[in-house]
């Protein structure tokens, strides 16, 4: 305990140096936490799960995938044709509808893209929105929004940030001029808001509304079908219990004669996302192996610099400690302890602050990788700060501490003399 107090005293002795080192550590840990949070999220979404996994069915060759809506029912059943065939645990279909509130001046702010899907699947199939995993208050709120979306065919659930961008509130009505579905302009009523987080910029509409509008198109266009009428189904999501079930469903789909024009492919969600992320391979590599290590190295240098200055200034003090009976190991621990206390403390403080700032205040951090709206700091990142601070402090202080412990008493005193 006395030893710890001595370490604390030493940290407080040169307050300016300790403060500068702490601030340096905090800002650098902040950047590492941001970088690692993005990489952690990408690693998680591309890691193959072994159970309760999701599969996606898309057009085999082309992106964006555009399949006829007639594929929806059978694909949702995993192309099961016989009673013995395996059926997915759950499924959801996605059709993308994009439109603008101001067709005369399209901007990123007034453009809204919505997933047209079955309302009841919002709470069972959308990642991070499963009603069973949300807090009771959020789950109740989402349940009410889903019920309203089922009830009102022209309803739409929108993320908080997107809602603010289009200057609308719950209950407001607005019209979107179709962008991808030309001449399909739809009027919406905001019936719900997504819980804060991943869906802040997203929107979900009732798929029946889009399909009914497409069905009605020929009536106002001399009997002509909409040009995209046979290409409205973009994705089908399937939930399967395990990898074996996935393989069975995948085979059922690939061998089915129903999906020939266009052909389809079934892959795990993680594999699909990994293919998309392949385009960012070099950028991700750079973040993982250049940016993060360089910051960690800078951090080690800042700490090493501060500790070695401190050791040089206290040569006489260490000599006195040796005379008083301190063993070299104890002096080494004393110096390393100072660095570790400073590093780990500021690292921990930094990640707690980062977590609060990014998740609670800023609502995530935007980074232009793939289709992910915003990235959030995971809860375990709080320990990253502690670990980063501790390890970089250790790395930075080992050499100065060793120098301090190896000090020769006679040499130190002779210089004074």
């Amino acid at each position: 305990m006395k030893f710890l107090l001595l370490i604390l005293k030493n940290v407080r002795r040169n307050a300016v140096r300790s403060a500068l080192t702490a601030v340096g550590t905090m800002v650098l840990v902040f950047v590492v936490t941001l970088v690692w949070s993005i990489l952690d999220f990408l690693d998680k979404v591309t890691a193959e799960k072994t159970d309760n996994l999701k599969a996606i069915v898309t057009e085999r060759w082309q992106i964006p995938s555009q399949m006829p809506f007639s594929y929806a029912d059978t694909l949702s059943e995993g192309a099961a044709r016989h009673p013995k065939d395996l059926r997915p645990l759950d499924s959801m279909t996605w059709q993308f509808y994009g439109g603008t509130i101001d067709p005369a001046k399209k901007t990123i702010e007034n453009i809204l893209f919505a997933f047209a899907m079955e309302p009841e699947k919002v709470g069972s199939m959308l990642d991070d929105l499963e009603l069973t995993t949300l807090s009771p208050a959020k789950a109740d709120d989402l349940r009410r929004s889903i019920a309203r979306l089922k009830e009102k065919r022209n309803g739409i659930i929108v993320g908080r940030e997107k809602l603010a961008q289009i200057h609308k509130r719950l209950g407001d009505r607005f019209t979107l001029t179709g962008l991808n579905y030309k001449d399909i302009d739809l009027e919406f009523e905001v019936v719900g808001v997504f819980p804060d987080g991943r869906y802040d910029k997203s929107a979900v509409m009732n798929r029946d509304y889009l399909n009914a509008s497409l069905d009605a198109y020929p009536r106002s266009h001399a009997g002509q079908k909409h040009p995209l009428a046979d290409k409205t189904l973009n994705l089908v999501w399937l939930r399967v219990p395990d990898m074996q079930a996935f393989n069975t469903v995948q085979e059922q789909i690939s061998q089915s004669p129903l999906y020939t024009s266009p052909a389809v492919k079934c892959e795990t969600a993680s594999s699909g996302i990994a293919t998309f992320l392949e385009a960012y391979r070099d950028l991700i590599w750079g973040m993982r192996w250049l940016l993060a290590p360089a910051i960690l190295l800078t951090l080690s240098l800042v700490i090493a610099n501060a500790i070695s200055i401190s050791v040089r200034e206290r040569r006489l003090e260490f000599a006195v400690l040796r005379v008083l009976g301190f063993r070299p190991l104890q002096i080494l621990v004393l110096v390393v302890g100072e660095a570790v206390l400073l590093g780990a403390g500021s690292g921990l403080f930094s990640t707690v602050a980062t977590y609060t700032l990014i998740n609670q205040v800023m609502g995530g951090v935007n980074f232009p990788i793939a289709f992910f709206g915003a990235f959030f700091i995971p809860l375990q990142a709080i320990w990253w700060g502690l670990a980063i601070g501790l390890l970089t402090a250790l790395a930075g202080s080992v050499v100065p501490a060793f120098t301090a412990s190896a000090i020769r008493v006679t040499e130190a005193f002779s210089k004074v003399a």
């Binding site: 800002v27 994009g98 200034e313």
Partner: protein
Amino acid sequence: MKTAQTILLAAADSQTAVWIAGAAALILLACLLFGVKVPLRYLVRNLTVRWRTTLMTALAFVLVISLLTVMMAFVNGMYRLTQASGQPGNVMVLADGATDESFSNLVAPDMADIENQPGILRENGRPLCSRETYLVVTQPIENPIPGRPQRRFLQLRGLDDSALAGRVHGLELYPQGRWISEAGVREPAPNDAALAGRERAAQPLIEAVLGEGVAHVLAADKKRQSKSAPSPERLDVGDTFSLGDRRWIVVGVLKSAGSTFDSEIWAKRGMIGPMFGKDTYSSLVLRTAGPTEARRLKEFFNSQYKKAAVLAQVETDYFDNLSGTNRQFLFAIGFVTVVMAVGGVMGVMNTMFAAVSNRVKDIGVLRLMGYSRSQIMLAFLLESLLIAMAGGALGCALGSLVDGWTATSIVSGAAGGGKFVVLRLSVDLQTLLLGFVLALAMGVLGGLIPAFTAVRLKPLEALR
């Protein structure tokens, strides 16, 4: 947050600002070098005496500046790509409402009418127009690396006349290559060394002209296939690859480095349209006499032309709009750099504070010798700047090693769409200057407060 973003983007985006900052930094350096009466040798000696501290501080600068240089090289590469991809005299016509080529659908009768409008250059009586269908398709990778994705996305451009498209886009082929034939396919020759027996007997090969970048990407599959045999760095004329259940044969490679066409595969539209289920055109690219004529033609299509609902853009504007991702990256880089620089500044401050406290007696002597407070302050500032200069210069040198490296990415605009690209990292003079200015700024910020502390010392007290 938005204000910070605007300031950072404006600062990094503005060439003039970087040059002004560079000039200001050089003037400051010159003033310090000539204004400081304390011998430079004394300052350098102080740095070399405590070389470990100096080295560690300078190393922190090296890391920050070299990272900035690498990150800026990446964004520069993206900007160069989007800037070099369009012809200022070309007008690109998409379907009205389409925010990108991927979402555009134009039909043949409309194209014929558009092509015959006045203002479009003609060659031997034919309008210089390229009808194009742009597709992004999935290709199963032939020899995937274990643990890596099994598929990749490839960009296909279906053309009615590839030679004409080459002229419209200002692209040429490498020697030995030729443009795609009228049929768009080629029967495998019986003695075709590149093909296995099974392939010779199968359907005709689809002719393809490859961008240089994608030719490198596809060659990597072959390299993994035959590790023992020497493989070319890129696919070349006569090489084959698989895509969409068919074998394709390379008939030409585009001199396309530095443009988005570098990552594209060109083929006959009549072949790939039905094959991948796109029966419409994505765009029509029209060649005019020059930039002014192109703007005039664009205006005509957007405001006066009523026969078809189209959206015309000058080609350079279209590619400029694909810089949305670049700007986001630029902001991210600015943010990371500023935060890292703060860390670096803390390191310099530590070093300089230690320098001041170690030399309290020196300061006293210098004051008694007649050096003024401001001269002593400038001396400490210069010392900090010398570390910054050394670290900054080394950081720039280290960072510039990535110049010319290639990387994959996506360029896209605000309204979706975009292109998968192979880009070349580019370290230009402006980037180096930016790195050097940032290093000097860090040096000034890190040295200023300790220098003020030094001048507040009273000579006699310092000597006591």
